[in-house]
């Protein structure tokens, strides 16, 4: 058995002598005797080498090397080597919340820079230090809008990811929100939209934003950060709150997390925004420095009246996103978006045997209706080394023959050609 506990038996005895206790057991005397544990079913410990082998065995029972066309909000983008190298510095990942700003300037400045990058990406004025993920960020945006508008109707546009809708309803189960599907802002706190939509369709929500504001409702736009290398930003559409899933900005797919919940808003609403916020200030010598600010909104001070119960942020993920966006830069993000869009359009044009379900233009993802059951097709494609996409019926967003196909910069023309051919073989034979 291994241990990361350094204390030897003789040291334990010395320490007990200083404490004045006869045994370590005596230190647990405040636990009433009937409740002291006698046994449990936990396996014996392993060496580090055995742990590694055990985990390699589990990892080996998963398929992670297929050529992937899975998207649905989470995308197989390339992660530059610098992201792992820098975020893997233990001064970052073994630190905690910057309670002592003097020795946490790395954390705080990186959060400030992350917030700045998000504002520049979205054309919004304030971003927080991050929330858990895209789905919880949308829920927090809805509660924030309810708080601001003092109304409880939340309108969900059909473009929104159906999993997010489920999460909204789970989180708000006891909050007396009135969820309505559609795009009518009258009497509502907000309209939640997603761009590109879950099915990949790109829209301009500027007119809806105007209607929202005329009705004193907020426009909440859930966005896909990579798409903002190309498409109109939430700020340009008049969004009051912009939220998004930041996985695409340098996070591993990781079977669901850790991811990054992005949230940004306009200046007038910053005090109603949940989550940590870093701000710039100076020390007594006038040196630039950063602190967590506007903390009076948060649970550790406001308790029952806090803007949210959230305590942490996904700081390490926000750092990864900041490094990613800096490595890509202004031109790189545009190139990335153009590559994703162009490759998806190339593939879409090749799928003439399937019906494209999107009513308008798409970014890097589109929905098709196949001539046969999507389950059968994806199973056949899996045998040929492809994750062919997301059968939409399984997420409650389509019929059994419908498939959602995403394309990233990582797919080569040769892969797209091979996939189009294999999909045709599988779906039409």
């Amino acid at each position: 058995m291994g241990s990361w506990i350094p204390t030897t038996e003789s040291e334990r005895k010395e320490m007990l002598a200083v404490i004045g206790a006869a045994s370590i057991d005596e230190l647990f005397s405040s636990i009433p005797e009937p409740y002291r544990m006698r046994g449990w079913e936990i396996p014996a410990g392993l060496s580090e080498m055995s742990v590694r082998n055990l985990m390699a065995g589990l990892a080996g029972r998963n398929t992670a090397d297929a050529i992937s066309f899975l998207g649905g909000g989470y995308y197989d983008h390339y992660i530059p080597a610098g992201v792992d190298a820098l975020s893997g510095r233990s001064e970052f990942y073994t630190a905690y919340t910057p309670y002592q700003p003097e020795t946490s300037q790395g954390t705080l400045q990186s959060i400030y820079e992350y917030q700045s990058l998000i504002c520049r990406l979205t054309n919004m004025e304030f971003a927080n230090a991050s929330l858990y993920d895209g789905g919880t960020a949308l829920f927090e945006a809805a509660t924030m809008a309810v708080r601001i508008a003092k109304r409880n109707r939340v309108v969900i546009h059909p473009s929104v990811n159906p999993t997010y809708v489920q999460m909204l309803k789970t989180h708000a189960a006891n909050l007396e929100f009135d969820f309505v599907t559609g795009d009518d802002p009258s009497g509502a706190a907000c309209v939640l939209v997603q761009n590109p939509a879950f099915d990949g369709t790109v829209r301009d929500f500027t007119a809806l934003g105007d209607r929202c504001h005329a009705a004193k409702a907020l426009l909440v736009v859930s966005f896909y950060p990579v798409s903002l290398g190309m498409i109109k930003s939430p700020g340009e559409m008049g969004a009051d709150i912009a939220v998004g899933e930041g996985q695409c900005l340098g996070m591993n797919l990781g079977f669901g997390g850790p991811y990054l919940g992005i949230m940004a808003t306009r200046a007038e609403h910053v005090r109603k925004m949940p989550g940590r916020i870093a701000g710039q200030t100076e020390d007594h010598d006038g040196r630039r420095g950063f602190v967590l600010t506007l903390q009076a909104r948060e649970q550790h001070i406001r308790r029952t009246k806090a803007m949210s119960n959230i305590c942490s942020n996904q700081a390490l993920c926000a750092l990864r996103a900041a490094i990613y966006l800096c490595l890509l830069g202004k031109e790189g993000l545009r190139d990335l978006a153009v590559a994703c869009h162009s490759k998806a359009e190339y593939l879409k044009a090749k799928l003439d045997f399937a019906q494209i379900l999107n009513e308008g233009p798409t970014f890097n993802e589109f929905a098709v209706r196949l001539p046969m059951d999507a389950h059968l097709v994806t199973s056949k494609l899996l045998d040929r080394g492809f994750l062919a996409g997301l059968p939409l019926h399984d997420v409650g967003a389509g019929e059994t023959n419908d498939l959602l196909i995403a394309v990233t910069e990582q797919r080569t023309r040769a892969e797209l050609d091979a996939f189009a051919g294999a999909l045709k073989d599988a779906a039409c034979n």
Partner: protein, 128 residues
């Protein structure tokens, strides 16, 4: 305002008459407890408030506190200078640091509150 002529609540608000309306603020003790005040959220004009209803929020770096209406009334004026200069609450809690003014106050309600002497005794008791 002369602190001796005001009425006080157990939540450390004060209220006092100015030209037949009533100004509301927080006490010297309250501003000291909060520390440097960084933000004040004021009520909407014309809002009808009930006694003990939350009417404003005052924030410092490490604390936040609700400000309750000492008595019922209608908000007829707010001190919008506090939006840009919240430090006035620290500097002059009984003067330039007032929060808002109430009309339609029932004067009998004021008798439910503490006098300056009673508030001093209340603070002394809290210290114990």
């Amino acid at each position: 305002m002369d602190p001796e002529k005001l009425w006080y609540t157990e939540d450390h608000e004060w209220i006092g008459e100015v030209n037949s309306v009533y100004a509301v603020g927080i006490t010297q003790h309250a501003q000291e407890a909060l520390g440097d005040i960084t933000f004040v959220e004021l009520p909407e004009l014309e809002r009808e408030v009930a006694a003990q209803e939350e009417t404003a929020v005052v924030e410092s770096v490490k604390a936040a506190s609700d400000v309750y209406a000492p008595v019922s009334g209608r908000v007829v004026q707010v001190n919008s200078e506090l939006e840009t200069r919240p430090e006035l609450v620290n500097q002059d809690p009984y003067g330039k640091g007032w929060f808002y003014k109430l009309a339609d106050v029932i004067t009998d309600d004021l008798n439910e509150l503490m006098s300056a002497d009673e508030y001093r005794a209340y603070l002394a008791k809290l210290e114990e």
